[in-house]
Symmetry: C2
Subunit: 192 residues, 2 copies
DNA sequence: TAGGCCATGTAATGTGTTACATGATTAG
DNA sequence: CTAATCATGTAACACATTACATGGCCTA
Protein backbone atom coordinates (compact mmCIF):
# COMPACT_ATOMS: atom_id res chain seq x y z
CA UNK A 1 0.00 0.00 0.00
CA UNK A 2 1.24 3.45 -0.86
CA UNK A 3 -0.91 5.61 1.41
CA UNK A 4 0.60 4.06 4.51
CA UNK A 5 4.10 4.82 3.30
CA UNK A 6 3.21 8.33 2.17
CA UNK A 7 1.84 9.06 5.64
CA UNK A 8 5.07 7.70 7.16
CA UNK A 9 7.00 9.98 4.82
CA UNK A 10 4.95 13.01 5.87
CA UNK A 11 5.50 12.23 9.55
CA UNK A 12 9.17 13.14 9.56
CA UNK A 13 7.84 15.68 12.07
CA UNK A 14 4.76 14.94 14.23
CA UNK A 15 1.33 15.98 12.91
CA UNK A 16 -2.38 15.32 13.31
CA UNK A 17 -4.67 13.71 10.74
CA UNK A 18 -6.11 17.11 9.98
CA UNK A 19 -2.63 18.58 9.42
CA UNK A 20 -1.81 15.73 7.07
CA UNK A 21 -4.96 16.31 5.01
CA UNK A 22 -3.92 19.95 4.54
CA UNK A 23 -0.45 18.81 3.51
CA UNK A 24 -1.94 16.34 1.04
CA UNK A 25 -4.05 19.05 -0.59
CA UNK A 26 -1.09 21.42 -0.86
CA UNK A 27 2.00 19.34 -1.58
CA UNK A 28 1.08 15.73 -2.26
CA UNK A 29 -1.79 16.41 -4.66
CA UNK A 30 0.42 16.17 -7.77
CA UNK A 31 0.92 12.42 -7.23
CA UNK A 32 -1.61 11.27 -4.61
CA UNK A 33 -4.81 12.32 -2.85
CA UNK A 34 -6.67 11.05 0.21
CA UNK A 35 -9.76 11.94 2.21
CA UNK A 36 -9.83 12.44 5.98
CA UNK A 37 -12.11 9.41 6.25
CA UNK A 38 -9.28 7.31 4.84
CA UNK A 39 -6.43 9.07 6.67
CA UNK A 40 -7.84 8.61 10.20
CA UNK A 41 -8.26 4.82 10.12
CA UNK A 42 -4.93 4.40 8.32
CA UNK A 43 -3.12 6.32 11.07
CA UNK A 44 -4.84 4.16 13.66
CA UNK A 45 -3.71 1.03 11.80
CA UNK A 46 -0.10 2.28 11.62
CA UNK A 47 -0.19 2.95 15.35
CA UNK A 48 -1.48 -0.58 15.98
CA UNK A 49 1.51 -1.88 14.02
CA UNK A 50 3.92 0.08 16.20
CA UNK A 51 5.01 2.45 13.42
CA UNK A 52 3.44 5.51 15.07
CA UNK A 53 2.55 6.71 18.55
CA UNK A 54 -0.11 9.29 19.37
CA UNK A 55 -0.86 11.80 22.06
CA UNK A 56 -3.80 14.16 22.67
CA UNK A 57 -3.04 17.85 22.59
CA UNK A 58 -5.40 20.73 23.38
CA UNK A 59 -6.17 22.98 20.43
CA UNK A 60 -6.42 26.77 20.50
CA UNK A 61 -9.51 26.52 18.30
CA UNK A 62 -11.80 23.51 18.09
CA UNK A 63 -11.63 20.07 19.70
CA UNK A 64 -8.42 18.47 21.02
CA UNK A 65 -5.93 17.26 18.40
CA UNK A 66 -4.45 13.77 18.16
CA UNK A 67 -0.81 14.21 17.21
CA UNK A 68 1.05 11.26 15.69
CA UNK A 69 4.81 10.68 15.99
CA UNK A 70 6.78 8.24 13.86
CA UNK A 71 8.65 5.50 15.75
CA UNK A 72 12.07 4.11 14.73
CA UNK A 73 10.24 1.02 13.42
CA UNK A 74 8.07 3.33 11.33
CA UNK A 75 11.12 5.03 9.91
CA UNK A 76 12.61 1.64 9.05
CA UNK A 77 9.45 0.63 7.19
CA UNK A 78 9.62 3.88 5.21
CA UNK A 79 13.29 3.40 4.27
CA UNK A 80 12.55 -0.14 3.17
CA UNK A 81 9.81 1.13 0.83
CA UNK A 82 12.04 3.91 -0.49
CA UNK A 83 14.99 1.64 -1.23
CA UNK A 84 12.95 -1.29 -2.57
CA UNK A 85 12.97 -0.01 -6.16
CA UNK A 86 10.37 2.00 -8.06
CA UNK A 87 6.72 1.00 -7.79
CA UNK A 88 5.70 1.56 -11.40
CA UNK A 89 2.10 0.41 -11.27
CA UNK A 90 -0.42 0.19 -14.08
CA UNK A 91 -1.60 3.75 -14.52
CA UNK A 92 -5.27 4.35 -15.32
CA UNK A 93 -6.47 7.12 -17.62
CA UNK A 94 -10.22 7.34 -18.10
CA UNK A 95 -9.94 10.13 -20.62
CA UNK A 96 -7.60 8.07 -22.84
CA UNK A 97 -10.16 5.28 -22.80
CA UNK A 98 -12.72 7.82 -23.95
CA UNK A 99 -10.52 8.86 -26.89
CA UNK A 100 -9.92 5.21 -27.78
CA UNK A 101 -13.65 4.54 -28.19
CA UNK A 102 -14.68 7.99 -29.42
CA UNK A 103 -14.95 6.82 -33.05
CA UNK A 104 -18.20 5.10 -32.04
CA UNK A 105 -19.81 8.53 -31.61
CA UNK A 106 -19.57 8.83 -35.39
CA UNK A 107 -18.58 12.51 -35.34
CA UNK A 108 -14.94 13.63 -35.48
CA UNK A 109 -16.00 17.06 -34.23
CA UNK A 110 -16.88 15.41 -30.92
CA UNK A 111 -13.27 14.23 -30.69
CA UNK A 112 -12.03 17.71 -31.50
CA UNK A 113 -14.18 19.34 -28.80
CA UNK A 114 -12.95 16.72 -26.35
CA UNK A 115 -9.28 17.41 -27.08
CA UNK A 116 -9.79 21.17 -26.84
CA UNK A 117 -11.35 20.63 -23.41
CA UNK A 118 -8.46 18.44 -22.22
CA UNK A 119 -5.94 20.95 -23.53
CA UNK A 120 -7.56 23.81 -21.59
CA UNK A 121 -7.36 21.90 -18.33
CA UNK A 122 -3.76 20.84 -18.92
CA UNK A 123 -2.58 24.36 -19.79
CA UNK A 124 -4.15 25.72 -16.61
CA UNK A 125 -2.57 22.98 -14.54
CA UNK A 126 0.84 23.53 -16.12
CA UNK A 127 0.66 27.24 -15.35
CA UNK A 128 -0.07 26.45 -11.70
CA UNK A 129 2.93 24.12 -11.45
CA UNK A 130 5.18 26.62 -13.27
CA UNK A 131 4.16 29.20 -10.67
CA UNK A 132 5.13 26.84 -7.86
CA UNK A 133 8.49 26.24 -9.52
CA UNK A 134 9.14 29.97 -9.84
CA UNK A 135 8.33 30.45 -6.15
CA UNK A 136 10.62 27.62 -5.09
CA UNK A 137 13.48 29.02 -7.16
CA UNK A 138 12.97 32.58 -5.86
CA UNK A 139 12.65 31.37 -2.29
CA UNK A 140 15.83 29.30 -2.48
CA UNK A 141 17.87 32.05 -4.14
CA UNK A 142 20.32 29.56 -5.65
CA UNK A 143 20.35 27.02 -8.48
CA UNK A 144 18.58 23.65 -7.91
CA UNK A 145 21.82 21.66 -7.75
CA UNK A 146 22.60 23.57 -4.55
CA UNK A 147 19.22 23.01 -2.88
CA UNK A 148 19.04 21.19 0.44
CA UNK A 149 18.44 17.44 -0.01
CA UNK A 150 14.82 17.94 0.97
CA UNK A 151 14.32 20.88 -1.37
CA UNK A 152 16.06 19.04 -4.18
CA UNK A 153 13.76 16.02 -3.94
CA UNK A 154 10.68 18.20 -3.86
CA UNK A 155 12.01 20.10 -6.86
CA UNK A 156 12.58 17.02 -9.00
CA UNK A 157 9.11 15.68 -8.11
CA UNK A 158 7.67 18.97 -9.30
CA UNK A 159 9.71 18.83 -12.51
CA UNK A 160 8.22 15.42 -13.25
CA UNK A 161 4.74 16.95 -13.13
CA UNK A 162 5.78 19.76 -15.44
CA UNK A 163 7.33 17.39 -17.98
CA UNK A 164 4.30 15.11 -17.82
CA UNK A 165 1.75 17.86 -18.38
CA UNK A 166 3.86 19.45 -21.10
CA UNK A 167 3.75 16.15 -22.97
CA UNK A 168 -0.04 16.11 -22.70
CA UNK A 169 -0.34 19.61 -24.11
CA UNK A 170 2.01 18.65 -26.96
CA UNK A 171 -0.17 15.61 -27.65
CA UNK A 172 -3.30 17.77 -27.76
CA UNK A 173 -1.62 20.13 -30.24
CA UNK A 174 -0.44 17.26 -32.42
CA UNK A 175 -3.89 15.68 -32.37
CA UNK A 176 -5.69 18.93 -33.20
CA UNK A 177 -3.30 19.51 -36.13
CA UNK A 178 -3.99 15.98 -37.35
CA UNK A 179 -7.75 16.46 -37.11
CA UNK A 180 -7.62 19.83 -38.85
CA UNK A 181 -5.53 18.42 -41.71
CA UNK A 182 -8.20 15.82 -42.13
CA UNK A 183 -11.02 18.38 -42.03
CA UNK A 184 -9.21 20.55 -44.60
CA UNK A 185 -8.93 17.55 -46.95
CA UNK A 186 -12.73 17.38 -47.29
CA UNK A 187 -14.22 20.59 -48.74
CA UNK A 188 -17.36 20.41 -46.62
CA UNK A 189 -15.84 19.56 -43.26
CA UNK A 190 -16.75 15.95 -42.75
CA UNK A 191 -18.71 14.77 -39.74
CA UNK A 192 -17.71 11.13 -39.89
CA UNK B 1 -17.23 3.90 -13.21
CA UNK B 2 -14.84 3.51 -16.14
CA UNK B 3 -14.58 -0.27 -16.41
CA UNK B 4 -18.27 -0.60 -17.24
CA UNK B 5 -17.95 1.93 -20.05
CA UNK B 6 -14.71 0.43 -21.36
CA UNK B 7 -16.42 -2.96 -21.59
CA UNK B 8 -19.33 -1.34 -23.45
CA UNK B 9 -16.80 0.23 -25.81
CA UNK B 10 -15.11 -3.12 -26.43
CA UNK B 11 -18.45 -4.78 -27.18
CA UNK B 12 -19.00 -3.00 -30.49
CA UNK B 13 -18.92 -6.63 -31.66
CA UNK B 14 -20.04 -9.51 -29.39
CA UNK B 15 -17.44 -11.22 -27.22
CA UNK B 16 -17.03 -13.40 -24.15
CA UNK B 17 -15.44 -12.38 -20.86
CA UNK B 18 -12.37 -14.37 -21.76
CA UNK B 19 -12.10 -12.65 -25.16
CA UNK B 20 -12.35 -9.27 -23.43
CA UNK B 21 -9.55 -10.15 -21.02
CA UNK B 22 -7.31 -10.97 -23.99
CA UNK B 23 -8.27 -7.66 -25.61
CA UNK B 24 -7.51 -5.80 -22.38
CA UNK B 25 -4.04 -7.32 -22.19
CA UNK B 26 -3.29 -6.50 -25.81
CA UNK B 27 -4.95 -3.18 -26.61
CA UNK B 28 -6.36 -1.59 -23.48
CA UNK B 29 -3.32 -2.12 -21.27
CA UNK B 30 -1.84 1.32 -22.05
CA UNK B 31 -4.64 3.08 -20.14
CA UNK B 32 -6.50 0.43 -18.12
CA UNK B 33 -6.22 -3.12 -16.82
CA UNK B 34 -8.69 -5.59 -15.33
CA UNK B 35 -8.70 -9.15 -14.07
CA UNK B 36 -11.16 -11.84 -15.17
CA UNK B 37 -12.52 -11.94 -11.63
CA UNK B 38 -13.57 -8.33 -12.08
CA UNK B 39 -14.71 -8.63 -15.70
CA UNK B 40 -17.17 -11.51 -15.15
CA UNK B 41 -19.29 -9.90 -12.40
CA UNK B 42 -19.20 -6.54 -14.22
CA UNK B 43 -20.62 -8.12 -17.40
CA UNK B 44 -23.34 -9.78 -15.33
CA UNK B 45 -24.20 -6.41 -13.76
CA UNK B 46 -24.37 -4.72 -17.19
CA UNK B 47 -26.68 -7.48 -18.39
CA UNK B 48 -28.92 -6.98 -15.36
CA UNK B 49 -29.14 -3.30 -16.29
CA UNK B 50 -30.29 -4.17 -19.81
CA UNK B 51 -27.12 -2.88 -21.50
CA UNK B 52 -25.99 -6.34 -22.64
CA UNK B 53 -27.58 -9.67 -23.52
CA UNK B 54 -25.81 -13.03 -23.37
CA UNK B 55 -26.05 -16.41 -25.00
CA UNK B 56 -24.17 -19.71 -24.45
CA UNK B 57 -22.10 -20.95 -27.36
CA UNK B 58 -20.23 -24.26 -27.58
CA UNK B 59 -16.46 -23.93 -27.76
CA UNK B 60 -14.14 -25.96 -29.98
CA UNK B 61 -11.77 -26.35 -27.04
CA UNK B 62 -12.79 -26.13 -23.40
CA UNK B 63 -16.12 -25.37 -21.74
CA UNK B 64 -19.02 -23.49 -23.40
CA UNK B 65 -18.55 -19.74 -23.90
CA UNK B 66 -20.91 -17.01 -22.71
CA UNK B 67 -21.03 -14.43 -25.49
CA UNK B 68 -22.26 -10.92 -24.65
CA UNK B 69 -23.94 -8.57 -27.14
CA UNK B 70 -24.45 -4.84 -26.57
CA UNK B 71 -28.07 -3.61 -26.66
CA UNK B 72 -29.17 -0.21 -28.08
CA UNK B 73 -29.55 0.99 -24.46
CA UNK B 74 -25.96 -0.10 -23.83
CA UNK B 75 -24.79 1.83 -26.87
CA UNK B 76 -26.65 4.90 -25.61
CA UNK B 77 -24.97 4.66 -22.22
CA UNK B 78 -21.58 4.49 -23.95
CA UNK B 79 -22.28 7.53 -26.14
CA UNK B 80 -23.38 9.48 -23.08
CA UNK B 81 -20.07 8.71 -21.36
CA UNK B 82 -18.07 9.59 -24.47
CA UNK B 83 -19.79 12.93 -25.04
CA UNK B 84 -19.97 13.94 -21.36
CA UNK B 85 -16.55 15.63 -21.35
CA UNK B 86 -13.14 14.32 -20.30
CA UNK B 87 -12.85 12.39 -17.05
CA UNK B 88 -9.54 13.80 -15.85
CA UNK B 89 -9.24 12.12 -12.48
CA UNK B 90 -6.54 12.52 -9.87
CA UNK B 91 -3.71 10.39 -11.17
CA UNK B 92 -1.67 8.40 -8.67
CA UNK B 93 2.05 7.76 -9.02
CA UNK B 94 3.65 5.69 -6.28
CA UNK B 95 7.12 6.14 -7.70
CA UNK B 96 6.82 9.94 -7.61
CA UNK B 97 5.85 9.69 -3.95
CA UNK B 98 9.00 7.66 -3.43
CA UNK B 99 11.15 10.38 -5.04
CA UNK B 100 9.42 13.05 -2.96
CA UNK B 101 10.42 11.37 0.30
CA UNK B 102 13.73 9.87 -0.87
CA UNK B 103 15.78 12.58 0.91
CA UNK B 104 14.96 10.78 4.17
CA UNK B 105 17.19 7.90 3.07
CA UNK B 106 20.10 10.30 3.55
CA UNK B 107 21.99 9.14 0.47
CA UNK B 108 21.70 10.91 -2.88
CA UNK B 109 23.18 7.86 -4.59
CA UNK B 110 20.00 5.99 -3.63
CA UNK B 111 18.03 8.59 -5.58
CA UNK B 112 20.37 8.21 -8.54
CA UNK B 113 20.01 4.42 -8.59
CA UNK B 114 16.25 4.82 -8.38
CA UNK B 115 16.09 7.20 -11.37
CA UNK B 116 18.35 4.95 -13.44
CA UNK B 117 15.97 2.08 -12.71
CA UNK B 118 12.89 4.11 -13.70
CA UNK B 119 14.63 5.26 -16.89
CA UNK B 120 15.41 1.69 -17.92
CA UNK B 121 11.78 0.65 -17.59
CA UNK B 122 10.51 3.70 -19.44
CA UNK B 123 12.91 3.28 -22.35
CA UNK B 124 11.86 -0.35 -22.76
CA UNK B 125 8.21 0.60 -22.65
CA UNK B 126 8.67 3.42 -25.15
CA UNK B 127 10.41 1.03 -27.57
CA UNK B 128 7.45 -1.35 -27.33
CA UNK B 129 4.96 1.43 -28.12
CA UNK B 130 7.14 2.74 -30.97
CA UNK B 131 7.10 -0.77 -32.44
CA UNK B 132 3.30 -0.84 -32.28
CA UNK B 133 3.15 2.54 -34.01
CA UNK B 134 5.45 1.34 -36.79
CA UNK B 135 3.27 -1.73 -37.31
CA UNK B 136 0.09 0.35 -37.46
CA UNK B 137 1.61 2.73 -40.00
CA UNK B 138 2.96 -0.11 -42.16
CA UNK B 139 -0.30 -1.99 -41.98
CA UNK B 140 -2.39 1.06 -42.97
CA UNK B 141 -0.07 2.04 -45.83
CA UNK B 142 -1.22 5.67 -45.73
CA UNK B 143 -0.67 8.73 -43.49
CA UNK B 144 -2.59 8.88 -40.15
CA UNK B 145 -4.89 11.69 -41.31
CA UNK B 146 -6.33 9.20 -43.84
CA UNK B 147 -6.87 6.35 -41.36
CA UNK B 148 -10.38 4.99 -40.82
CA UNK B 149 -12.14 6.72 -37.87
CA UNK B 150 -11.47 3.64 -35.75
CA UNK B 151 -7.81 3.44 -36.74
CA UNK B 152 -7.40 7.17 -36.21
CA UNK B 153 -8.69 7.05 -32.65
CA UNK B 154 -6.52 4.09 -31.78
CA UNK B 155 -3.56 5.92 -33.30
CA UNK B 156 -4.02 9.10 -31.27
CA UNK B 157 -4.45 7.07 -28.06
CA UNK B 158 -1.15 5.38 -28.82
CA UNK B 159 0.53 8.73 -29.52
CA UNK B 160 -0.54 9.92 -26.07
CA UNK B 161 1.32 7.01 -24.52
CA UNK B 162 4.42 7.76 -26.55
CA UNK B 163 4.39 11.45 -25.61
CA UNK B 164 3.81 10.62 -21.97
CA UNK B 165 6.64 8.11 -21.71
CA UNK B 166 8.98 10.37 -23.68
CA UNK B 167 8.40 13.07 -21.06
CA UNK B 168 9.31 10.63 -18.30
CA UNK B 169 12.55 9.66 -20.01
CA UNK B 170 13.37 13.36 -20.50
CA UNK B 171 12.70 13.93 -16.80
CA UNK B 172 15.02 11.06 -15.84
CA UNK B 173 17.77 12.54 -18.03
CA UNK B 174 17.30 16.02 -16.58
CA UNK B 175 17.32 14.65 -13.04
CA UNK B 176 20.44 12.53 -13.60
CA UNK B 177 22.23 15.56 -15.07
CA UNK B 178 21.21 17.62 -12.04
CA UNK B 179 22.45 14.97 -9.63
CA UNK B 180 25.74 14.56 -11.48
CA UNK B 181 26.36 18.32 -11.49
CA UNK B 182 25.91 18.19 -7.76
CA UNK B 183 28.20 15.22 -7.33
CA UNK B 184 30.87 16.95 -9.45
CA UNK B 185 30.68 20.03 -7.21
CA UNK B 186 31.94 18.04 -4.21
CA UNK B 187 35.40 16.58 -4.82
CA UNK B 188 34.70 13.38 -2.92
CA UNK B 189 31.22 12.56 -4.20
CA UNK B 190 28.94 13.37 -1.32
CA UNK B 191 26.66 10.80 0.22
CA UNK B 192 24.25 13.16 1.86
C1' DT C 1 1.02 -37.85 -17.82
C1' DA C 2 2.11 -33.24 -16.89
C1' DG C 3 1.56 -28.68 -17.96
C1' DG C 4 -0.54 -25.07 -20.59
C1' DC C 5 -4.46 -22.96 -22.54
C1' DC C 6 -9.54 -22.46 -22.74
C1' DA C 7 -13.45 -20.95 -19.97
C1' DT C 8 -16.29 -20.02 -16.18
C1' DG C 9 -16.97 -18.27 -11.72
C1' DT C 10 -16.84 -17.24 -6.07
C1' DA C 11 -14.64 -15.57 -1.70
C1' DA C 12 -11.71 -12.89 0.87
C1' DT C 13 -9.29 -8.98 1.31
C1' DG C 14 -7.44 -4.43 0.28
C1' DT C 15 -8.16 0.32 -1.15
C1' DG C 16 -10.79 4.55 -1.88
C1' DT C 17 -15.04 7.72 -1.95
C1' DT C 18 -19.30 9.68 -0.26
C1' DA C 19 -22.36 10.46 3.20
C1' DC C 20 -23.29 10.98 7.88
C1' DA C 21 -22.54 12.50 12.86
C1' DT C 22 -20.65 15.60 16.38
C1' DG C 23 -19.18 19.74 18.40
C1' DA C 24 -15.97 23.91 19.55
C1' DT C 25 -14.15 28.50 18.10
C1' DT C 26 -13.88 32.56 15.38
C1' DA C 27 -14.78 36.13 11.85
C1' DG C 28 -18.22 38.83 9.58
C1' DC D 1 -26.56 34.70 14.45
C1' DT D 2 -24.50 32.44 10.71
C1' DA D 3 -21.01 30.51 8.16
C1' DA D 4 -16.37 28.93 7.87
C1' DT D 5 -12.67 26.54 9.84
C1' DC D 6 -10.88 23.34 13.21
C1' DA D 7 -11.03 18.52 14.54
C1' DT D 8 -12.43 13.85 15.12
C1' DG D 9 -14.51 9.79 13.62
C1' DT D 10 -18.12 5.82 11.63
C1' DA D 11 -20.91 3.51 7.98
C1' DA D 12 -22.05 2.33 3.57
C1' DC D 13 -20.76 1.72 -0.78
C1' DA D 14 -17.75 1.33 -4.96
C1' DC D 15 -13.85 -0.50 -7.12
C1' DA D 16 -9.75 -3.73 -7.60
C1' DT D 17 -6.55 -7.67 -6.55
C1' DT D 18 -5.37 -12.25 -5.04
C1' DA D 19 -6.53 -16.67 -4.03
C1' DC D 20 -9.41 -20.46 -4.65
C1' DA D 21 -12.43 -23.89 -7.29
C1' DT D 22 -13.66 -26.58 -11.40
C1' DG D 23 -12.92 -29.06 -15.49
C1' DG D 24 -12.17 -30.16 -20.61
C1' DC D 25 -8.86 -30.27 -24.49
C1' DC D 26 -4.28 -30.32 -26.60
C1' DT D 27 0.65 -30.76 -26.94
C1' DA D 28 5.21 -32.30 -25.52
Amino acid sequence: MSLEHILLGCLETPASGYDLKTYFDQQIRQFWSAELSQIYPTLKRLEGRGWLTSRREPSTKGPPRKVYTRTPAGREALIEWLTGGPQVGSERFSYLAQVFFMDQVGDLQATRRFIVDVRGRMVAWRAALAQVEREERDHAGKPPEQFSPNGLHRFISLRMGIHSIGAKVAWCDETLALLDTRFAATTEGETR
